[in-house]
């Protein structure tokens, strides 16, 4: 959502706050109910204040937008506020992106891109050069975003007799769209008009969308000017080929190699690709709800924290509402004790393999784990996201024994080194992000043990990707002895190395139990240091391809 920026809506707004990044200084000022920013190049005096007029995001990450005095064109403020940590960080360090990518902090980014989804019924209205005359119906995600146009509905329902006829007969009010009464695919599009990777069907559609906004209305079976981009689906091949030519990294920045979505906020891509979707009833609101019936503040807080899930949908109930026969003997299917995390449907079929807003999140493509997804597409499988201490060969063997899944041919290191240890040293930045987050995930810690995680997370404090440093910091804080560990993940070079060195000394001298024995898969010597030869070999083989997750 987008809001008018005030000291109340921009949570980190404090008069006098100063920031430096990319050779420029920024100073935030408050005048009454308005916020301003002055900017200067290093060593120069501050220029005229620019008002912070809007702020995008509300409960996780907030990005402020500045006036430009050029129509309704906005300029991106180069810092974002991380709500949970109460810290400001350069926007480029709140996304998983290579350190050498210069964030463009562009003028017009909100008008040309963000407002497509962060407002209700936005119209970008490009004028010329980098000038925009944007319009919105409402800044927040309001009623009509999901229920379609309301004019007729409001007009008809002035009549109390009509309303009571509907109340007392449970008839559908045909004057408004109710996603709960749509088919699964149509209901999914209601959310997926934003929560999907979409593209324009053609240039005319793009121009029309820009000038007049989306023509899609909730309830329609198609996004009209746009389509949901599914790399593995046979549809819209001409448009997808065009994307491949004009934006070669488009798919890599959003999808795993097998077409599974890997960024958060695009959940419909996962839902559409799930086997459950083929039944025609499965949609976002099978598990989520936007209007909880229990409106007590405590329940609303819980609902907001639990991804707006319906009651009991954080449990197996989400799957068992359809897969009813599983409930009687869940262990027969999971091969794990019924009350363990290994018997929770989500953990195996919706593992945390998507990433965005500085954390891993559950994939919304319901799938079954296999070792091949890891060897072929690099995606950490559900088994090793929990059993961090086990090798990929162990996973392949168990899956063959339990589910008769043929094991892939695995190299020697996958027989000997824990999959998580390998990925966090040798993997690309996306794999490292998922494993670094996973090392702070309580179910994985309980299954895999905590003692061996310290050196890996401390090592990741110096990862070249800022997002991975953030994750290492937060995961370290979940481990005994490090709950109050402070770390400036946005720092550079020597400072990072010093903080990581201090953390290592603390672990070796104060936290580590001298009697602990590390199994060989951990790649650790008895004194807690990495086995030098193996570690350096994996480090030298690290997949350094740039990863930019376009969440």
């Amino acid at each position: 959502m987008t809001q008018v920026a005030t000291p109340q809506t921009l949570l980190g707004a404090t008069g006098g706050a100063e920031f430096s990044f990319g050779g420029r200084d920024y100073k935030m000022e408050q005048q009454g109910d308005k916020l301003f920013v002055r900017t200067r190049s290093l060593g120069r005096t501050y220029g005229e204040p620019q008002q912070i007029v809007l702020v995008t995001g509300s409960h996780t990450l907030q990005v402020p937008w500045l006036e430009t005095h050029d129509g309704r064109t906005l300029e991106q403020f180069p810092f974002a506020y991380i709500v949970a940590e109460k810290i400001w960080a350069p926007v480029s360090q709140t996304f998983l992106m290579p350190p050498d990518v210069k964030e463009y902090y562009s003028i017009g980014a909100w008008n040309g891109a963000c407002m497509d989804c962060h407002v209700t019924e936005g119209q970008s209205r490009f004028v010329a050069s980098n000038t925009w005359d944007s319009r919105v119906a409402e800044f927040g995600i309001a009623c009509e975003a999901c229920h379609s146009e309301g004019r007729e509905h409001i007009s008809l329902n002035h009549d109390p007799i009509r309303r009571f006829k509907i109340h007392l007969t449970n008839k559908t009010d045909s004057s408004i769209t109710n996603p709960n009464r749509l088919t699964g695919p149509n209901s999914g599009l209601d959310c997926g008009q934003c929560h999907s990777v979409w593209a324009f069907k053609g240039m005319e559609d793009k121009i029309d969308f820009n000038r007049h906004g989306a023509t899609f209305r909730p309830g329609q079976p198609d996004l009209t000017q746009r389509f949901v981009v599914q790399p593995s689906a046979p549809d819209y091949s001409e448009q997808k080929d065009f994307i491949r030519k004009t934006e070669p990294d488009f798919f890599r920045n959003r999808f795993w190699g097998d077409g599974m979505i890997r960024v958060t906020g695009r959940e419909l891509n996962g839902v559409q690709a799930s086997p459950c979707f083929r039944g025609g009833n499965f949609s976002c609101i099978s598990c989520h709800e936007m209007h909880p019936t229990d409106m007590r503040q405590s329940n609303l807080n819980k609902w907001a924290r639990s991804a707006q899930l319906k009651p009991r949908m954080e449990s197996d109930e989400a799957c068992l509402q359809c897969h009813k026969t599983m409930a009687s003997n869940i262990s027969a299917h999971t091969h794990h004790p019924a009350d363990s995390s290994g018997s929770r449907c989500y953990n195996c079929h919706m593992p945390n393999t998507t990433f965005g807003l500085l954390h891993a999140m559950r994939s919304h493509q319901v799938s079954s784990p296999n070792a091949q997804e890891s060897t072929e597409f690099g995606r950490p499988n559900a088994c090793n996201l929990c059993h961090l201490n086990k090798t990929l060969a162990w996973t392949a063997e168990e899956l063959q024994t339990w589910y008769n899944i043929s094991p892939p041919k695995l190299p020697d290191e996958d027989q000997k080194i824990a999959a998580a240890a390998k990925w966090i040293v040798k993997g690309d930045a996306g794999q490292r992000a998922l494993i670094t987050w996973g090392m702070g995930w309580q179910p994985a810690q309980e299954v895999s043990g905590r003692d061996w995680l310290y050196p890996y997370l401390i090592y990741c404090l110096t990862d070249s990707y800022a997002a991975n440093r953030f994750l290492a910091w937060k995961s370290l804080q979940t481990l005994p002895g490090f709950s109050d560990f402070s770390f400036t993940y946005t720092a550079e070079g020597r400072s990072l190395n010093n903080e990581a060195a201090s953390a290592l000394v603390k672990w070796l001298r104060q936290v580590r139990s001298p009697s602990i024995v590390f199994p060989p898969e951990m790649m650790l010597d008895p004194d807690g240091r990495f086995q030098k030869e193996t570690f350096e070999r994996l480090r030298n083989e690290r997949d350094e391809k740039p990863i930019l997750l376009a969440e």
Partner: protein, 137 residues
């Protein structure tokens, strides 16, 4: 029993009931009972408040009507006026109250339909009293 005596008795008992309801509503506020004060229950809150306010006001109207009849020598309310006032005093607050017990989103429950009937009865009684008093020497 004279009609005005009936209105006086009804008025005082009704005043007792609906002042007590006011006390109950204050207790619901005081203990922040979710069924009454939560954000999604604003229609219920409005309906109960209206039940309390109308019940109390109609009780006073019944008392005033009874006292009015007594204050004019040889004047007595028609039976239909007396019963209309009493039924208005019942249907108004009970309609609002039932309208608040079950709600449909932004709409009150079916009980709310008692309110227009009560309004007609009240309107009839008031206009009839006004006309009768105007003609009375």
């Amino acid at each position: 029993m004279k009609p005005s005596d009936r209105n006086l008795k009804f008025g005082w008992w009704s005043l007792l009931v609906f002042l007590s309801l006011g006390g109950v509503l204050e207790i619901l506020h005081g203990f922040k009972v979710g069924w009454y004060v939560d954000v999604g229950n604003d229609v219920r809150r409005l309906m109960f408040t209206l039940a309390h306010a109308h019940g109390t006001a109609l009780a006073l109207v019944n008392i005033a009507a009874g006292l009015t009849a007594r204050s004019f020598k040889n004047f007595e309310m028609r039976r239909s006026i007396s019963l209309s006032l009493i039924w208005a005093g019942v249907l108004f607050p009970v309609g609002f109250f039932l309208g608040g017990v079950v709600t449909y989103g932004g709409d009150p429950g079916l009980g709310i339909w008692m309110v227009p009937i009560a309004a007609i009865l009240l309107f009839y009684a008031v206009i009839r009293i006004a006309l009768d008093l105007s003609r009375f020497d």
